[in-house]
Every structure is written in C-alpha cells, then in structure tokens.
Symmetry: C2
Subunit: 100 residues, 2 copies
DNA sequence: GTAAGCGTTCGATGTTCGTCGAATATAGGT
DNA sequence: ACCTATATTCGACGAACATCGAACGCTTAC
C-alpha cells in the first residue's frame, strides 16, 4: 500500500441496494453519521467495541458502496464522506443521516 | 388467519437499520417502488420470477419493517404502503423510492 | 536497520439471508 | 362436500455476513 492503495469504485458503479445495505448496519450507519460535518477522522476516533479487523471490514464495505473516502496519512488512516455520492443519489445521505 | 391475521408492528418499534435493510433487496425495493402511488395491489400483480413462498417471505420482511400494510381480500391479498412510515422517518421513503 | 504502531488480509466460526419445493391452511365456487 | 385458487409455514440448502484472533505489510521513529 504505497500511495493510492485504496480502491474506490467508480461512483456510477454503485447501486442503490448496495448503498442501502451498507447503511443498514448500525455501526456503519454511526460511522457515516459521525462524518456528517464533512470533516475527516482517523480510525481511532471511532467509539467501537469491535476488533480492529472488524472495523477495517466495515470501512471497506462503506468504501465499496461509494460512501466514504479512505486516505493514508502516514501510518494511520483518515476517512471522510465521499462527495460524489450526492450526485449519484441526491438527497439520500442527508435524509438517512438526518434520521439516524 | 381469519380476519386480522397479519401482524403489523407498532410503527415506533421499527428501527432505521431495519428499514434500510428491508429496502436493500432489489425485489423488495421494486415492490415498494411500485406502491409509490399509494394504491393497493394484489400479490399476482407483481412481476416476480421468484416462487410464491419467496414472495411471501419478502412481504413479511417489508411488513415487519413497517413499510407496507397487508390486507386479506377474500382468498387473495392486497398490499399498500403504510402511511405512518412517513411520520416515523420523514422523507425517507420518498427519497429512496424516488431514486429507485 | 530494527522496532513499534496501525491497518489489512486470512482463515475460522456462528448467524442471517434468499431461495426453493412440499405441506398446510383458508376462502370461494361448483 | 369437493375442488380450486391463493397465501403461509416448514424444513433445507448454499451464499453472504459479522465477528474474532493471528499473521502480514507498510510506514515512521529510534
């Protein structure tokens, strides 16, 4: 994983059922909700009671659903909302996160 | 199943992840989308390539998620959107269905 | 260059899910 | 009464999922 290691799918390849499924897990939903403000956060800033490997798995699901962006910042990792999801599914994220 | 056979959960008991999960299946999403106009439809009016038992299963998932109402109409069955879902999660259904 | 920090990948495990066919139940029509 | 149409329930099946700990790889600091 040198620089661009994270695979982010083309936003048009993301399907609605895929997004809804990604958001249907309470932990993933809370991760997305905590990113609401548009800022970036590190792995460690999430209050999770799950193992690191589990968190990594959930991050991948969110990333593959086009919901988040992962960026390497040295040895740690930053996550933020993926802006294009708004173009792909206008209003969806705002609505869901607003209700979470 | 004499009269009120169908169990519809109290609307406040349905959770957001539950609703999102219910909508994350393509077939279930299409069912909900086809109910968009508020009208009622019978089982047979759905273009499904799945077995009757499978359709029945999906209907139950949607019903348990507070998304639809099931009504017996003699020997057949009518389904329609459950209006209270709008009070429970305002804007959600309109947004999701609008994108489907 | 060696060690530490941090996230990913890899099995493994138990659970949930979508699907089917067969059996069952209920209501209507003959 | 019987038969038909329609929907539900009941196993059963494989696939997908959430979770973990252990092993691995990469980056930075010492």
């Amino acid at each position: 994983m040198t620089q661009d290691a994270y695979h982010h799918p083309a936003i048009d390849d993301v399907t609605l059922p895929e997004v809804l499924h990604a958001l249907s897990d309470p932990l993933r939903l809370s991760i997305v909700a905590s990113l609401r403000d548009g800022g970036a956060r590190g792995w460690g800033e999430f209050e999770t009671d799950v193992a690191a490997s589990t968190l990594s798995h959930h991050m991948k699901v969110l990333r593959m659903a086009g919901l988040i962006l992962n960026r390497r910042e040295g040895t740690r990792c930053q996550v933020s909302l993926r802006p294009e999801i708004e173009d792909r599914f206008p209003g969806l994220l705002a609505t869901v996160v607003g209700l979470a």
